[in-house]
Symmetry: C2
Subunit: 356 residues, 2 copies
């Protein structure tokens, strides 16, 4: 088994095994919860780039983890559990944002509301959708811990990774909380946008998975700190690329409607810089009015042109380039073993230059 070459497949094998194992005892005792378990299983196995466990795996490999050693399967299970944390984050986020679709399918709250409506059940379909999606998200979070804590690894190995595991789960919630508050208070500053990106993407998606993987390999404080520098800069760059794609991305490639981030009113650095650079002109008003508005396609085009004209797009592209540069320099300093160093550098390029 070549874990390095077929990583996503092995991560999915562990996820499927855990979901089957955890699901079986619930189904036996509580058949009525079977549909809930099915929903979560379908969600987790139904897609996703497996980005967080991939970062964790390569940090483990780079810090000396042996893919042919006795810990390899245990590490796969421990890092795959990050996908269950992510399932909770996405299911609850979709509810909070009232999103209708995810990965081309109805979101969890929407599909439960539809089931309710189709059956003509009592009460409001939306309330049922809310209830079920809150509970399925909670189940994902509880099971993430169960999966992580039952990884077949020496107690000391899991203990070494616990600070990263703890920080990661608190930070993603802090990031979402901050995001919700920033949108509510209407803070349009570039600083607020960067704070949210640092927590939601840099810390949760890149930095802590790298920290977790390195800690599972017994890496020392110094190397972990250097890897976290790499992760912080890369994570912000990754989010900035996401922000650009959210406005300029080709719908046929991203799978999302054009200008989706604008309609959703996301407070991205791109928009924050656009407002700052436009100062008190007509362009400022055009951008400000577009946030959270139900824009027609030609209006999206106009906002795109404006963001480009005021220099916000260039500014974000320059930041991505600078952050990718400092990230790669930190990666170099972490002097990871090959092939991990090369693979992480490739991941960094991919994450910051992608068009999807």
């Amino acid at each position: 088994m070549d874990f390095d070459a077929d990583l996503p497949q092995h991560l999915e094998r562990h996820l499927a095994a855990f979901l089957t194992e955890a699901g079986a005892s619930v189904r036996a005792a509580q058949p009525a919860f079977g549909s809930g378990v099915d929903t979560l299983t379908g969600f987790v196995l139904g897609g996703g780039k497996r980005l967080r466990p991939t970062f964790a795996w390569w940090a483990w490999r780079g810090a000396g983890g042996d893919p042919h050693g006795p810990d390899a399967e245990g590490v796969l299970r421990a890092v795959a559990s990050l996908e269950l944390v992510q399932a909770c984050a996405l299911i609850h986020d979709d509810l909070i944002d009232s999103s209708d679709s995810r990965r081309g399918r109805p979101t969890v709250h929407v599909s439960y509301a539809r089931e309710h409506r189709a059956n003509g059940w009592l009460g409001a379909p939306e309330t049922f959708g809310l209830a079920a999606s809150v509970l399925i998200g909670d189940l994902a979070l509880a099971w993430a811990d169960d999966m992580f804590n039952s990884a077949p690894l020496p107690a000391a190995t899991l203990d070494a990774a616990r600070p990263a595991w703890r920080a990661m789960r608190t930070e993603v919630l802090a990031g979402q909380y901050l995001d919700v508050r920033t949108q509510a208070t209407g803070d349009t500053s570039p600083e607020a946008a960067l704070r949210v990106s640092r927590l939601k993407t840099a810390a949760y998606t890149v930095q802590r998975p790298l920290h977790l993987g390195a800690a599972l390999a017994g890496a020392d404080e110094q190397r972990i700190a250097t890897l976290r520098e790499f992760g912080d800069d890369l994570g912000v760059a990754f989010q900035l690329r996401d922000d650009l794609l959210g406005v300029f991305g080709d719908p046929s490639v991203t799978g999302k409607p054009a200008g989706d981030d604008l309609r959703e009113g996301k407070r991205t650095l791109l928009v924050a810089l656009g407002l700052q650079l436009a100062e008190d002109t007509e362009q400022h008003k055009l951008i400000a009015d577009a946030i959270g508005a139900d824009l027609a396609d030609d209006e999206v085009d106009r906002v795109r042109r404006t963001l480009t004209e005021v220099g916000a797009v260039d500014a974000v592209e320059q930041r991505i380039t600078a952050l990718t540069g400092t990230a790669l320099a930190a990666l170099e300093r972490a002097s990871l073993a090959e092939p991990a160093a090369t693979r992480l550098a490739e991941l960094a390029e991919l994450a910051t230059q992608r068009t999807f």
Copy 2:
């Protein structure tokens, strides 16, 4: 320090210590999340009967746990973490049920919606309340695991308790899921009501805490099975008392409006038996129409009289007596060390005979 005599105080000491410790690092890194941490801390330390850790503690003591031994503080921390699971369950339940108040204070989603309204923030106050309460409940669930897993106990001791910990968290979610589905499908059978009680109260509130405590003391399978029998019967009896108080309780003692369970449309065994015993009479219609209706006080009185007349109240009281009897017989068979045996018997009486 007399842990047995001052148990609630010691449980609260551990909760306060954990919340301060976990909160400090978040506050330092992310001041903006401080208000979220404050909300959770206030909620957890603001009240509650500490029932679940109390059952767990006495099971630990009864199975040989030494309150003067080296594990006592670690066990207090491990069992106190049940209160964080409960915080998640209550915060999310209040959101799902649209409850306005809890322990005489506004519920979490309501207090966030008020903060939003008072500040005139952007968007709908209710959406903000939903978002914040989902995230604060998630934080409680993540922190429950962090608290449990960082209890200073030998790895083998915590490992022995993990099956109970895992089952408990899945079962409370299964119970809430089943509850929501039962209300939606309008299943008014006594069987459905009992199934929900078994999961939401018997398993989660009594049986698994007992299992957890006994496992922490290294109890064998046989003793754990006997204690779980005690917990299952006691837990159902406890829920049936709760059902009676939800309809007949004195508001000045229960702190809830008279007939609150009727207005909320709860599918309790009391109501299910009322419907079954009334068959197809006027009384059946009166009970059926009362479920989930906005009843005036004299209408609540009429439903109370009807439930009594058809024999549902007597039937529930008889079940409580029978279940308490079989529970106490199982407790006897578990031959726990004193004073745990006496204290658990007292708790059983208190839980099934209470008026609050």
